[in-house]
């Protein structure tokens, strides 16, 4: 088990199974089709992301460097949370980008009854250590345990 200290963007505690992308997570390309057509597992639809394409994202600890792509990214993430189809948490190796931050904040302020802890600045080592299927626990103070 290894611990990483990050910065809390939106607080919360959760334990979930990791899904990992070492390239930018394109929120629109990844989530829109799954949300639109009722995919219960919310499988990643981004054909440009070989690490994630086709993998379920709902309830997972999504480990990523940052998000990329369309500026609908934040609202897509907000919708995923409002529809209870979001990852369990989002764990960023890099400082968070503006689209992911928007999605996290919109969900935190405007959606009742949904908690999606978001932690950033976990460092490059975090992303090289964590692998698909590992168990990840996020603490309220931004500590992330990977087992």
């Amino acid at each position: 088990m290894k611990q990483f200290q990050g910065r809390v963007i939106t607080p919360g505690e959760v334990t979930a199974e990791a899904v990992v992308t070492t390239q930018g997570f394109n929120t629109l390309a990844s989530l829109q089709m799954a949300l639109q057509f009722g995919d219960k597992e919310v499988k990643c639809g981004d054909q440009n992301n070989a690490e994630l394409h086709g993998k379920p994202l709902i309830g997972k600890a999504l480990c990523l460097p940052q998000t990329i792509g369309s500026t609908t990214g934040g609202l897509v993430l907000y919708c995923a949370c409002a529809m209870h189809k979001n990852p369990a948490c989002m764990l960023f190796a890099n400082p968070i980008d503006s689209l992911a931050a928007a999605g996290a904040v919109l969900a935190d302020v405007w959606v009742d009854g949904v908690s999606m802890p978001v932690v950033d600045s976990l460092g490059e080592e975090f992303l090289s250590y964590v692998k698909d299927g590992m168990t990840v626990t996020v603490k309220e103070n931004g500590v992330v345990e990977v087992d």
């Binding site: 460097p65 968070i96 904040v105």
Partner: protein, 426 residues
């Protein structure tokens, strides 16, 4: 974050609970980037990314309704991204059914919300709101609350305005309170380049391919590009601006670029030169082989990679008036060469409603129509985002459309060949 008395009062709920939540959103958003203050928006108009009444986006419309029900509207009028539907665009019965009865059932409802909130006018739907015909062109140094990645990168880079890559909903919230958090691309430091990209190609690089290569390499960083002025010149004329529009859209969608500088060409690069380059900037060299490598690595997601294309989209982001005229000339010439009268693949050129209005008044419009090409104001991405279109072999010269859909990317010349000569550009 230090707020003014007025901002603090709003946050404290003195102007109502809804405005307090809007302010809280902006403050939390800014604090994620260590913003120390909110600054006034100084542009005349805003631009929003959310133009589509997708049923699945109901939480967005519910949030908008909360805002409207609280008697709150945007302090600025705004333009918005393209509409998703146009009956001129070829679609079969099943597609029409899915579009109208399943996907975009909230379109009319959402457009009414936009009108109430402050839509500029009924035709203010385009991702290229900065075109002269559309009338939403910010000035150098103005602070914006825009979203739409291709518009933000254009406003920052080509026009010298200041805007972060805001998400949808955050965009309108800025307009509602009149402020945006001060961080990132609003600051001088945030506009400095952390990459130097050296263009060393043997010919003018394809805009959407060059943008893709840079976007994938630098992600959200700011690149300072040298060597491109040798191909583009040092004037921001119509042709160069159109090139930069397409180039920027690819940097923003294939990566997350919100600002680029081009030596001797874009306003801040002309003004400040290499003083814009941050200490320790990384280097990326782009030559013919690198562009070829990038292009060859695009995944082909068609079920049958050798399928004959059923549809072609050109114009994501929307074409300029000059680009519409240039495509008309090129298609006519290509058809003449191949001895054909009509294009071999149903082809749609997309542009802003007001650009199309002007185009329709030129003698190019009937000439283009005679080739069988259709013009439309839609967002091709919105058209493509459904399983029916995913099964359809669509080709495009838009790297943005390639990124977000199953459309296959070809260069402008390859597209021209395919639509005027036939074949699938295998």
């Amino acid at each position: 974050m230090v707020l003014t008395n007025e901002q603090q009062a709003i946050l404290n709920g003195e102007k109502g609970e809804t405005l307090a939540k809007v302010m809280k959103t902006l403050v939390m958003y800014g604090e994620a980037f260590h913003a120390e203050k909110l600054v006034p928006i100084t542009s005349k108009y805003n631009h929003l990314v959310t133009s589509f009444g997708l049923k699945v986006m109901s939480p967005v419309y519910d949030l908008m309704q909360q805002i409207l029900d609280a008697g709150v509207t945007s302090g600025q009028k705004f333009s918005v991204d393209p509409r998703p539907l146009d009956k001129n665009v070829p679609a079969n019965i099943l597609q029409k059914l899915v579009f109208n009865k399943f996907m975009y059932t909230k379109q009319d409802f959402y457009e009414e919300q936009l009108k109430e909130l402050g839509l500029m006018d009924k035709d203010a739907f385009s991702c290229t709101c900065y075109m002269d015909e559309m009338g939403n062109r910010p000035q150098k140094g103005e602070v914006l609350s825009w979203a739409e990645s291709s518009a933000v990168v254009y406003a920052n880079s080509v026009l010298g305005a200041r805007c972060n890559r805001n998400s949808g909903i955050i965009d309108i919230m800025g307009s509602i309170v009149g402020y945006v958090p001060y961080f990132g691309l609003l600051t001088d430091e945030g506009r400095r380049a952390t990459w130097v990209v050296k263009v060393q190609t043997s010919k003018k690089p394809e805009a959407q391919l060059l943008g893709s290569a840079i976007g994938m390499k630098v992600m959200e960083d700011v690149p300072y590009i040298v060597g491109l002025d040798a191909w583009l010149g040092q004037q921001l004329d119509d042709a160069t601006c159109a090139y930069l529009k397409d180039f920027g859209a690819a940097t923003a969608s294939n990566g997350a670029v919100g600002l680029y500088h081009i030596e001797n060409l874009t306003p801040e690069a002309v003004e400040l030169g290499d003083k814009l380059i941050a200490e320790g900037a990384q280097e990326y060299i782009i030559d013919d082989a690198e562009l070829e490598r990038v292009k060859n690595n695009y995944p082909v997601v068609w079920k049958d990679p050798d399928a004959t294309p059923k549809l072609c989209f050109v114009g994501c982001p929307h074409l300029s008036l000059q680009q519409l005229k240039d495509w008309t000339d090129k298609i006519e010439a290509g058809l003449k060469e191949s001895g054909k009268k009509k294009v071999a693949i149903p082809t749609v050129l997309t542009a802003a409603p007001k650009v199309l209005e002007v185009f329709e008044q030129t003698d190019y419009a009937p000439r283009l129509k005679a080739t069988g090409v259709v013009t439309s104001y839609i967002c091709p991405l919105m058209y493509m985002n459904n399983p029916l279109c995913k099964k359809m072999p669509v080709i495009t010269s838009s790297n943005k459309l390639r990124t977000y859909s199953s459309a296959r990317y070809y260069t402008d010349d390859e597209i021209l060949h395919a639509i005027t000569k036939g074949g699938n550009n295998k």
